[in-house]
């Protein structure tokens, strides 16, 4: 790690001011990804502003009139996954969080930090390799290299990396909003769908946060599929591995008819991939495996796999079917 100044504050405005003052400063939350990347010399801040003493940890109902729940950005993943309100009303989120990493990491990682995880592309991690995300303009080693784990949707010539979070896949299916404090102290709200971005010509930008902005909370609107949701993560081993493909599914049912389906995928794109086409096809249909297959097929037909990840197309389809079947059976 490069030498850095360590600063600790319990005031979010102080934290923001410190960060704005130093273009090479970074926020530090759980540290599970940032410290890792600093050890690799991928992230090189010369100042860390430790946010873990900020009071942004609460999980609470949103004010009346806005049905839903607010999750403090600096609360730990474990607390979010186990909070009684989340388990009861957003079991999909609990399951997704619990599919990620290990118990130790979930005890450290914050909810806001989870949103800011950087890709696990091994070329991004290896400073001897070209990588447009780490070193813009240096090229993408994965595009024609070891890209088994990489994107099948929304990639660009510049970057084929995937975003590794499980939590955010559920947040996408749940249409979460990310509330941030701006440098002027005012709040703004960003839809989860607009929070992460596709790589396009600027893969160095993972998300649409502006310099100095600090995530204060994640807001979940009320949903009608708490009793019909599922998260399935397909991976190379049975635990503690990043997803090859994951699917978060929530289904609102009227009898056996689908009122609406909410499907998001992980491990397939630079952001959580909302399967809108499949959702549209399922609306109003009967909840049958045949219909799930048709919808999943239509979604995955849009995929553009790379040389080594063609399997993700079939795997994605099967996993959507599997998640919808499980969701329909009841949570």
């Amino acid at each position: 790690m490069r030498p850095f100044k360590y600063t600790n504050t319990n005031s979010s405005s102080d934290a923001i001011n410190l960060l704005i003052k130093n273009p090479n400063a970074s926020y530090l939350a759980g540290g599970t990804n940032l410290i890792d990347l600093m050890k690799e010399d991928v992230e090189k801040p010369n100042e860390l502003i430790d946010l873990t003493r900020l009071a942004l940890t609460k999980i609470a109902l949103l004010p009346t009139g806005q049905n839903g729940i607010s999750i403090g950005a600096l609360g730990k993943n474990t607390e979010a996954a186990n909070h009684p309100m989340i388990r009861e009303q957003y079991p999909l989120l609990s399951k997704a969080i619990l599919a990620g990493a290990s118990a130790q990491i979930r005890n450290m990682a914050t909810n806001g930090g989870n949103l800011l995880q950087r890709t696990r592309c091994s070329y991004f991690y290896d400073t001897a390799m070209p990588c447009n995300k780490r070193n813009p303009g240096s090229g993408c080693a994965a595009k024609d290299g070891f890209n088994r784990m990489h994107a099948i949707f929304g990639w660009s010539e510049e970057c084929v990396a995937v975003y590794p979070s499980d939590m955010a896949v559920a947040l996408s299916a749940l249409d979460a909003n990310i509330k941030v404090i701006q440098p002027d102290g005012k709040f703004r709200s960003i839809s989860i769908h607009d929070f992460h971005r596709l790589p396009e010509q600027q893969p160095e930008l993972d998300n649409t946060l502006k310099r100095g902005e600090l995530i204060s909370s994640i807001e979940l609107p009320k949903n009608d599929f708490a009793n019909h949701s599922a998260y399935i993560k397909v991976r190379d081993r049975n635990s503690y591995a990043f997803a090859l493909v994951s699917v978060a599914a929530g289904v609102v049912l009227n009898g056996n008819r689908i009122v609406s389906a909410h499907i998001a995928m992980g491990g397939v794109a630079h952001k959580p991939w909302r399967a809108r086409k499949a959702e549209a096809l399922l609306k109003g249909k009967m909840a049958t495996v045949a219909n799930f297959e048709l919808a999943a097929q239509a979604e995955m037909e849009q995929a553009k796999p790379l040389a080594q990840n063609k399997f993700k197309v079939a795997m994605g389809k099967n996993t959507i079917v599997s998640a919808l079947s499980m969701a329909t059976k009841g949570t």
Binding site: M1, R2, P3, K39, D41, R120, S122, Y123, Y125, D126, T127, A128, M129, A141, G145, F146, R148, I232, V234, R235, D236, R237, N238, S239, Y240, A241, F242, L244, F311, K312, A314, M315, N318, T319, V321, S322
Partner: protein
Amino acid sequence: MEEKNKAIGKGVSRIEGILKITGKATYATDYPAKNMAYAVLFKSTIASGTITSLDTSAAEKSQGVLAVITHKNAPKLNLKGGLRGGALLQSPEILFHGQHIGIVVAQSFEQATHAAHLIHVEYQKKEGKTDFDKLLPNAEMPKGKELADLVRGDAKAAFENAAVRVEEIYETPIEHHHPMEPHSTVAVWEGEQLTLYNGSQIINGAQTAAASTLNLKPEQVRIISPFIGGGFGSKGGQWANLVLTAVAAKMVNRPVKLALTRQQMFNSVGLRQRNHQKISLGASKDGILQSLSHQTTSHTAVDSEYLEPCGDCSKIMYEVPNSLISYRVVPMNVILPTYTRGPGKSTGSFALESAMDELAYKLNIDPIELRLKNEPKKDPSNGKPWSSRKVVECLKEGAKAFGWDKRKAEPGTNKIGDDLVGYGVACGTYPARQRDSSAVIKLTKKGNNVNATVEIAASDLGTGTNTILAQTAADGLGLAMENITVKLGDSNLPPAAGSVGSVGAASFANAVNDACTKITDELLAKSGKQFFVRPTAKDLMISENVSAFETRADAKAPTQADQYSAHSFNANFAEVRVNALTGMVKVTRFLAVTGAGRILNPKTARSQIIGGNIWGIGMALSEESIIDPRWGNFATRSFADYHVPTNFDIGKLDAMFINEEDKIPNKMGVKGIGEVGIVGVAAAVANAVFNATGKRIRHLPITPDKLL
């Protein structure tokens, strides 16, 4: 006689266990030293070429840096001193990606790590040999004499004339040992005496290699290695990092600690090479083997040769009149491969035992039945009688215990929900050998309390050496285990073989047992008395009122041992569940049945076996290191990419031992279990996956994508 063998054969808990559960077991980097400096290695980022410029100035100026050592200022070392893998900073030449090119030594670990990022290197690149698939057609004959073609009869003609044939290619990828303790060393010089705290599977081997490489006499180097955080072959031979720590300590005139990073473990301490194996089996309609060819192509380093002997199992497993075992090799700009758990046998058995399963399916014979039909009466490779061979018992007892009769012969027909269930079987073997080892027993008596110390430069990397030696000495001396102290893991102790190739238990326990016999004989002689019933050493210490007595035994394998073919054998049974939609596999049950002679301690022996099984499950399902041929680097570079099994990957495992008395390979009748535990495992899992899904995966690992 009941008094004897009180300890041996009992499932005693590890005697050093208390230190391990309290965090007090001292591995190499746990040794404190005053004024310690910290060293970090930095590595080449090309696979082949020459360093043309090395700018270390920024690193040298970085705060806390004590020295930057490269080929420009490193002392001259003996390149033929017995270390593996080169990379000793003796020249600017680069032979593989990730070759050590220098060391930063600093006041703190943080400072050294940071400074290592400040080194700037320029290279003259050469085209590297980095693409195994492209190099495959140009494979060469290996240099090693033991790797020459082994021909019996006419395998080709017999194959072509056989009624039923299987001919397939089986691929196993590069794997890494990844012991949990990365290779690490603390080097302390006192004048011209060097102490190296360093996990070493072969204590004396580490000592002589370090001494020779540093141009020192062996007695100037002491290896201290009471605890080893796993090795699995990678800490058998020693690598450059051992000696470079000593070099750094000499240059900064302080004790130095150097631990490889996990990432550096991929290209510093060997690997299990990729193997391309072609098996051709020909059989009669009733399943009698007529022909067996096992042709392996592997890679090795460009400057040194190592091949794991994939054809070994095929040499001896089955009665077959026509056979060809061959090896070809492609040199690559990749670190030298080395012994990796069950070298050759684990990977070779995957090919052979998968092919046997394919043959059984073609013949419509139960795979156990096929093996029983081809059981050899003597070693088919050399005509020697078996010292013992319990394959039939392993298969029969295992089938009973596992519930083999519940297996559905037709693949893909056993379904529970979305899961396909399958059963697989495969056999394995590993040679039983005893190597020269010496042990000293020291007896002391206070009142009527007799204690013994056993001294031997053996190693215990989790194999249970400490415990079995205490058991052996207790029985050999007539003492209780709590009166035995075992000293091992120090090159100042009497020289011994290593914990490699399953020779540890046989070599160490026989040395201790011989020393026990000898000390008893000497005490008897000293007493000048005749006894009707032979007294124990303990009895004699008391009856003859001896306060202290010691002796040393230098043990060797029995002279008749090489007139027999001596091996451990096993049969492995796997039950898998494969999710039909996602392709994820879980080994839900596994049973290994092993005939390995006398089991000194069933508790630690069972752990060894299930540990080997878990290695085999990792080999079957998830472990793979991938080279990017464009640069020759490992694209898999961390535990996030290289998937060793987690706790949840493992279902219910059982170990069964076949009672077997075999004193031919050694007096104690110990055949070894460390290696055989992995042999046959990957094939049993792959065969179970076939039984579950009807998909025959011949290219490990069986990741979910291959089953869609």
